[in-house]
């Protein structure tokens, strides 16, 4: 799968309260949650993000609460993928389980706000079209790749049951 979009940059330790504040956790609807994505730290984010755009952040992205509303909100506001130096563990598994594309890369500092990126998820290749450069990342280990390819954890479990 190839994803293409403009970069929105964030710093280290972006937590799940930043991604979606608790007061909005009375909904499970991704579109509704998406309207408030990143509101506490970037109040106009949902207004300026376009479908396909890419979040690029520092270390420990998604730390804090287990709320799956966080990756749902990111998906819901139209973001196609998240790149970060590292991801917090629960956010990592939630993103795998619900099929939010994300990649770990140590090259986040080279990427600038507004850059146009093209990501080849299966190959783990990130092209920065604005800077004419390429960053490589590791693809997921086999077990996780299987879940991703099935379209998320519940589809993977359902398929396993049928076998």
């Amino acid at each position: 799968m190839i994803l293409k979009g403009k970069v929105h940059k964030f710093g280290d330790d972006v937590n799940t309260d930043d991604i979606i504040a608790a007061k909005y956790l009375v909904s499970t609807d991704a579109k509704e949650l998406g309207k408030h994505c990143m509101e506490s730290i970037s109040p106009d984010f949902s207004g300026k993000v376009a479908a396909g755009d890419i979040i690029v952040a520092g270390k420990n992205f998604g730390c804090g609460s287990s709320r799956e509303h966080a990756p749902l909100a990111i998906k819901g506001c139209g973001v196609s993928a998240v790149l970060a130096k590292s991801f917090a563990a629960i956010f990592f598994r939630n993103a795998i389980n619900i099929g939010l594309p994300f990649l770990e890369t140590s090259d986040v500092e080279k990427i600038k706000e507004g850059d146009l990126l093209e990501i080849d998820l299966s190959g783990g290749i990130i092209k920065n079209l604005s800077q004419n450069s390429v960053y490589k990342t590791q693809s997921f280990p086999g077990f996780l790749q299987e879940i991703v390819e099935k379209g998320g954890l519940m589809k993977w479990v359902a398929a396993k049951k049928e076998r």
Partner: protein, 418 residues
Amino acid sequence: MAYTIAEKILLAHTDKKDIRPGEFIEADVDVALGNDITAPIAIEEFKKAGFKKVFDNKKIVLVPDHFAPAKDSRSANQCKILADFAKEQNIMNYFEVGCMGIEHVLLPELGLVLPGDLVIGADSHTCTYGALGAYSTGIGSTDLARAYADGKCWLKVPASIKFIYKGKLDKWVGGKDLILFTIGKIGVDGALYKVMEFSGPVIRKLGMDDRFAMSNMAIEAGGRAGLIEPDEITKKYMAQFKRKPKYYTSDHDARYEKIYEWDVTGLEPQVACPHLPSNVKPVSQLKDIKLDQVVIGSCTNGRISDLRIAARILKGRKIKSGLKLIVIPATQKIYLECVKEGLAEIFVKAGGVFETPSCGPCLGGHMGILTDAETALATTNRNFIGRMGSPKSFVYLSNPAVAAASAITGRITHPEKA
């Protein structure tokens, strides 16, 4: 093979003969926990995938505690989704308002988590039960849906980091200070994807409530679990329940990725400053932090010994005029104990409010939300931007003694100086 306590528990919940850090496993879960925020998505996903019946109605626990008693009609709807699912699936361990308490205090209180168990919970503070010697970890709603379906969870076996605490703790210093000190040292990702194992002579003398407070905040350093090897204190605690636990300990030659060793003699009460739990300073360095609100409660410090410490300081005193003191016992049992022991009266006479069990203001839900430019000191576990309300508010974290003393003076204060 030499194993850590975490590895032993994980191994016992797979069909494997050996496990290594970094390996992916499919583990059988003993308890699958959800609350009014996370379980509605799990129930929706479970049904959407075509599943009709949960794998085992005795291993599922549902606690509406975050926005309950319902703060508005949409929250009421989320709580109702849990109640309806519990009824439909004959889930006994559903706790309605009146029986309900903050999940991570309620489950150990009722003996629903045993040492040696593998517990998953769609709440990041599920790591609390590591204090009992259970492998207990936070997962997401879809993980919970999957466990409802077949009782399993995928896990990557984490490497372990050992924390050894030596020396003697000062009077007003406890589990909360040890964990804040630790997070301050290693950072909010200092144990990212690792098991934290708390050990050493200081831990061996800590009571269960202090141990729960420590394990509770393992996640604030990125830890997957915060384990304490069971000992006589654990066994004494478990003696009140009928079910038989399995006590695991780490082998003396178990592999640790890192070992930290600290002498905590003379350690002051610790305070985490805005806006990260790792932004930790000793209380004496914070002299002029004026407070609008003090919150004593939560899954970290809403237990009876926490409230006894706070009451000891507040007895016969008045809180600073204009300050709001909010005290929240974590469960109905603790609430009743506070009433019987006269603690509730002390809080109210001091000028505080004594609220019903709920997560309430800890996550900015209800029952004490901050507005712009307000500053709170809380015994809770997170002080992220906007955590307790307005993104322009400030939250400091401390132990209950510092919180009570600070409510009297209106500034962050050492308990000896109130």
